[in-house]
Symmetry: C2
C-alpha cells in the first residue's frame, strides 16, 4: 500500500511532541493552560511535505490566539496545536517545490513535525544569515519593525523616534533602523541591563527604564525635542506617558499592546487629547496584511544583518516542552531579545 | 488731524462692547471667567477696515483657548478679547479690497467692533445663502465636517458612519454628507428631541440617545454591520463604547473631545486594543491646517444648502452680553444645532 510505504519512509523511532491549548486563560497565562502530548508523526499525502521543526518563534501575538474574543485571526481551538512560526527542515516531500533537506520558514506551530501542502512555506538560504534570524530580524518581527516604522511612521532625518520594549525582537530593529535613517532613537525597556544593551550594543541615543518609577521625567530628559514617531507595542501607562511628549504631526504605528494582553481590567488611557491637539496619525497594523512589502523589506533587513548594521540578541530555550514557561516569561518581559525555542 | 477725521466718520453714539477672558477656568467654565467691558470704537488706520459684528459663532474649540496649556493655538491672554469668528459688516474702509457695506467673515472675536488689515477676512455673498450659515454649514463647522468625513474618513457606499453630537453644527453636516455618499448614518445625541430631529429632519438612519443609560446596546442595535467611520468630536465614554463596535479597517477622524474639555480628571479610554485588532486609522485634525481644501468644500456645501440637500438648525442668542452663558450652555449640550450670538 502506498500509505504504508510512506510511513516506512518516516523516521521510525520518533514521536511528534505537540503543545496544545488546554484552556483559555483568564488574565495571566498559566502553564496549565497548555497540554503536552505525543502523537504519531503524520504522513505526507500527495503534494504534501513532512517537515521537522528546528526552531519555534515565540511572539506576543500568540496571547491573542488563546482568547475566544473577536480579533483579526481565528482563535486556536481548545485541544488544538498552538500556532506559531518555525524554521523547519523538509524531511520528505511529495511536492515539486521542495526536496528533503530544504530549510523552510512555515507556520507549523508548537510541534516537532507537521505536514503541509506548502502554502505559505518559503525556502530560506541557511548560509546567508544564521537560521534563527529568519524568525527574528530577517523574519516577521524584523518586517514588522520595517513596515511599521518606515511605511507608517515615516521618520525624517533629525526627528525623534521612541520605541518601547526596545530590546525585544521588534523594538531593537525599530531603534536601529531609526538610527540608519538619521533619527534620534530613544528606547523604553524594563531594567538597567536592557537599557544598557539598547544604548551600548544597539546604538540607541538613550533608553529609559520604565521600572525606575520616574517614567515621565526620564522620558522628557531623553526627548528634549519631543517625540515625532512612537512605535507602539506596549500600551497602558507607557502609552499614556508618551502621549504627553508628542510633537505636532506625530505618527504612532500601533503594532502591539503587550502590557494589556493579560489584563482583565485594561488600563484607561487619559491623554487622548494629545492626539487631537497634535494632529496625530495613529494606525493599527498587522504585518500579515501587508505581504506585498515583505519582498522589499526582507532583502534590506538581511543586508543590514549580514553587514553588521543591525545587531540582535536571542534567548533560546532548549526543548519544546519548555515552550509554555518561556512564553509566559516573554509576556512578563523576562526574555532578552528574540525568544526562540530549539525544538530539535 | 487725520485721526480725528477718521473718528468723526465712526458711529458717534456707540461704544464697543467686548467680552474679555477674566480668569482661566479650572474645570467647568463659569460666567465669572469672563468680563464685559465697553471701550471706544477703534479707528481704522491706513490699509485697515472697521467692521461691525452682526453674528458671533460660539464653538467648542474656544474652551481650549481659555487654558494656558500647550495646544495648537496660542491661548487668549487674561484680559484679552475672547477669540471667535463673526459675520460682520464693513463700516469704514481704508483698504482697496473692501468697501463700506461689504459683508465679511472674520476672526474679530467677542466684540461689537474691530479694526483689521483684512488678513483672513473674506467677503461673502449675503444673497446666496442666509448670513448665519457662513458661520455654520457653509463655514468652519461645515468645512470641518466635509474634510474630516471625506478626506480622512473616506466613507464608501454602504458603509456605516457614526457621529456623536449628531445635531451639532459639525455632526449634523457629517451625517447628511454620509447619506449623500450612500452610507448608513447613525448619530449619537443627548435626549429624545435631538435624536428625533436627527432622524426625521436630517435624515439619519438612526440616532442613539446617550443619556438613556444603555449606550452599547442601543449603538449595537443601530449598527448591525458594525462601524466603518467614526467621526469623533465627543470623546470619553462614548468613544470607549464606539471602539467596541468598530469594523476591520475603520477610520476615526478625530475632530474634537467636547466631553473632556472641562474635565479635571480625563476619562480613561480602555478599548484601545480595538484600534490594533481592527487596524484602525485614527487621525487628529484641525480644519485651519487644511486651508487648501476650503475652496473645494465651501462651494459644494453652499450648493447642498441652497438646494435643500443639507438642512441645519440654529440657536441664536440675542445680545453679546449673553455670550458667556450661551457658551457654557454649548459645552453642556444645551444648544440645539449651531450656536450663534446676534451681536447687532
Amino acid at each position: 500500500m502506498i500509505i504504508l510505504e510512506r510511513e516506512e519512509a518516516r523516521p521510525m523511532t520518533a514521536k511528534n511532541m505537540q503543545v496544545l491549548l488546554n484552556s483559555r486563560p483568564s488574565g495571566w497565562v498559566q502553564e496549565g493552560d497548555f497540554r503536552i502530548v505525543e502523537t504519531e508523526i503524520p504522513a505526507p499525502g500527495d503534494g504534501q511535505v513532512l517537515v521537522r521543526s528546528l526552531f519555534l518563534s515565540l511572539d506576543p501575538y500568540m496571547r491573542g490566539r488563546m482568547n475566544d474574543a473577536k480579533s483579526y485571526a481565528t482563535p486556536v481551538p481548545i485541544g488544538g496545536v498552538m500556532e506559531g512560526e518555525t524554521v523547519s527542515e523538509v524531511v520528505q516531500s511529495n511536492n515539486a517545490r521542495f526536496k528533503a533537506g530544504d530549510i523552510v520558514v512555515c507556520r507549523t506551530g508548537w510541534q516537532q513535525y507537521a505536514v503541509s501542502d506548502g502554502t505559505g512555506m518559503r525556502k530560506v538560504d541557511p548560509k546567508a544569515v544564521p537560521l534563527t534570524t529568519y524568525l527574528g530580524v530577517v523574519g516577521m518581527p524584523g518586517v514588522t519593525a520595517w513596515i511599521g516604522l518606515l511605511d507608517i511612521g515615516q521618520p525624517k532625518e533629525g526627528e525623534t523616534v521612541v520605541v518601547a520594549a526596545a530590546t525585544g525582537a521588534v523594538g531593537g530593529v525599530v531603534g536601529q533602523i531609526a538610527k540608519l535613517k538619521g533619527c534620534r532613537a530613544v528606547g523604553i525597556a524594563g531594567g538597567k541591563a536592557k537599557c544598557d544593551y539598547a544604548v551600548k550594543e544597539l546604538g540607541f541615543d538613550a533608553c529609559v527604564d520604565y521600572r525606575d518609577g520616574h517614567l515621565y521625567d526620564a522620558l522628557a530628559a531623553a526627548t528634549p525635542k519631543g517625540i515625532d514617531v512612537y512605535f507602539e507595542n506596549v500600551g497602558g501607562e507607557i502609552l499614556d506617558t508618551v502621549l504627553r511628549r508628542l510633537n505636532a504631526n506625530a505618527r504612532i504605528p500601533l503594532c502591539g499592546l503587550i502590557s494589556q494582553y493579560n489584563a482583565t481590567d485594561p488600563y484607561g488611557v487619559k491623554n487622548i487629547a494629545s492626539l487631537l491637539v497634535n494632529r496625530v496619525k495613529l494606525e493599527g497594523f498587522i504585518v500579515s496584511d501587508r505581504m506585498q512589502r515583505w519582498p522589499v523589506a526582507l532583502p534590506e533587513l538581511a543586508g543590514w544583518v549580514a553587514s553588521g548594521k543591525i545587531k540582535y540578541r536571542e534567548t533560546i530555550t532548549e526543548g519544546l516542552e519548555k515552550a509554555p514557561k518561556a512564553f509566559i516569561g516573554l509576556l512578563k518581559g523576562e526574555n532578552f531579545g528574540k525568544q526562540l525555542v530549539k525544538t530539535a
